[in-house]
């Protein structure tokens, strides 16, 4: 929960998931594991391969601190990974308040991002782009000022320069654009109602044909 500017703060993972749920934006099953005995119960339900991440407001750079484990294939590996994360954090950031370890299924596919930023003049601005270098280096993003309807959302998706990566270029599975547009429309709806929310980052969202999974979320609100 690092503070950004005066009055602005980042929602916790659970708070973020809950507010998204209110607008039917679903994240894939995940679990916060608080003891070794819970591993079996949750990890089998979520499915493999798994990724595990430390949950603590005190750990900012999770990977650097040894707080992230990926490609976990079974229950045995999950137990080992859980131990490794706790040991590493206790060693590297002894003062950290550890809330548990988040277990999520790992997905493969094309990374996209869906975002919202509240502009002082125009209100909520929705943002769409491909993840990773496409956003950061190529600045290949499209925008639309809310409210955004389904056909405008489709228009946003089609406006990016690298759209061919989503429509099946180079033998990849064509992405279900309607489903992606649904998420954009829901984020638009959320941002029109929840005016205390200033920024939303669904990043990455992993797309594999019809399979669309929001892997991580960052929401900034203002008191």
């Amino acid at each position: 929960m690092k503070s950004k500017e005066k009055g602005k703060f980042q929602l916790s993972f659970n708070e973020s998931v809950n507010i998204l749920k209110k607008y039917s934006i679903q994240l894939p099953d995940s679990a916060i594991i608080k003891s070794k005995s819970e591993i079996q119960k949750y990890s089998n339900k979520i499915g493999y391969p798994l990724a595990m991440k430390i949950i603590s407001g005190d750990v900012i750079h999770k990977s650097d601190a040894g707080g992230v484990e990926t490609s976990i294939r079974d229950e045995k590996e999950a137990a080992e990974a859980y131990e490794r994360i706790l040991t590493a954090i206790k060693k590297n950031i002894p003062s950290a308040d550890i809330r548990g370890v988040l277990a999520q299924k790992m997905f493969s596919g094309i990374e996209i991002i869906i975002g919202m930023k509240r502009d002082p003049q125009f209100g909520p601005v929705l943002l769409f782009g491909l993840g990773g270098i496409f956003v950061e280096v190529m600045k290949d993003v499209s925008m639309q000022i809310a409210p955004v309807n389904q056909s405008q959302a489709i228009g946003m998706i089609k406006k990016i320069r690298a759209i061919s990566l989503l429509t099946g270029a180079r033998g990849t599975k064509p992405a279900n654009l309607t489903k992606i547009a649904d998420i954009i429309v829901k984020v638009s709806r959320l941002s029109m109602k929840e005016i205390q929310i200033k920024e939303i980052d669904l990043n990455p969202v992993i797309v594999d044909g019809n399979d669309i999974n929001i892997v991580d979320v960052r929401i900034v609100a203002e008191k």
Binding site: D119, P120, Q121, F122, G123, M143, Q144, I145
Partner: protein, 473 residues
Amino acid sequence: MINRTKSKNRLDKLFSPNSIAVVGASRDEKSVGYGIAKNLIEGCVFKCRYCMPFKGKIYLVNPKAGMILAKKCYHDISSIKEQIDLVIIAVPAAIVETIVRECAKLKVGGIIIISAGFAEIGEEGKNLQERIVSIASKSGIPIVGPNCLGIIRPSAGMNASFAPSVPPRGDVAFISQSGALADSIIDWAIESVYGFSAIISIGNQADLDISDFIEWLGEDKETKAIALYIEGIKDGRRFMEVTSRISRKKPIIVLKAGRTEKGQKAISSHTGSIAGSYKIYETAFSQSGVEIADNVEELFDLAKALANQPPCKKNSVAIVTNAGGPGVLCADFCESMGVNLAELKDSTIRKLDKSGKMHPAYSRHNPLDIVGDALPERYEAAINILLSEDYISGLIVIQTLQTMTDPVEDAKIIIRAKKRFKDKPIICTYMGGMFSREGWELLEKNGIPDYNDPKKAARAMKALIDKGKRGLK
């Protein structure tokens, strides 16, 4: 709804007042107060053929002067004792509040505050500005400015500004967040015979803001297209609501400053507006059907095309040219801007062949190069045959000056074609200078846009294709 009608009526007095008072009229020829008085009494300071004295009543107010420009001065507006439709205030900021109070008491129709020294200078100025707006709004008096140039309305013979001169009368309205830019546009417009229906300098937008003026111009019969120079918009959502509505019946073109970080910094010290992200502005403009211009020249290039030409209904355009080079350039620009050049059908070529007017070496494809020695009759045959084809929705006519070229006769042919093919846009590129002038002036007088550069013609055609997509007539 009630509000909308009210706001339209509220602004009428600013554009067609029967009487104007100038508070701060001055004898000092170098002062703004003198310039405004002279602009009303004589039409302008820099004389041109478009200057005309304001026909309504003019009252000059200056407690210290007896006469200015052979006109009696009043001690204050209360001593005028006649109905005043419009008050122009050009006195130091500190006295403005007192004057506005007087205006409120007298229930004047509207106020233009030229004076600077308000929100743009900081907190103190901002408070003064808010007090003034609250006094006027209690009496329902609209305020233009402060910190602005004023309003010019050529059709009403009104130069209620300190602009040095006045442009020809026309059908493009210009709303500018920079007064000085408007000044230079006027000088250029006189030289280029570019007509305006209104020029409005909005200044700090303390009361009336850009959206109010766009809304008023949307109903204005003199205005066919609205050009905007914007640095920052305060209420972005209202701007989008208004422009989305108005752009469905009248084209709106915008030039937005502050595309770079340096430009944005310059804006905050200029008008005190928050520049905001250019990408978000671009998104807002295209979402609201506002055409985006890249620079000052393009703003007015597009405005004149959009004001008078019908939309290009299908993205399928032809080029007629008497020169290969400019035709090739134009094809390049069309292609890169997304203007599709139609493939000429065999049946079209047969008609051209059969006309008996073509040179044996004419190009037989689009761009249709009718060769340098083209006389008016060859232009006529080519233009009419191309525009008769259903699959061609718009035409670019390029003319270079050869020994046998007749720019005026060619212009007459184009004007006739325009009358015959009312629903298809024609854009001209008379490349050249003094010997083409009479020709392009004739074209422009008849509402056919002419540009000296094929790139501009391609850009204008692109805007007309966009106009079609927006469903404008």
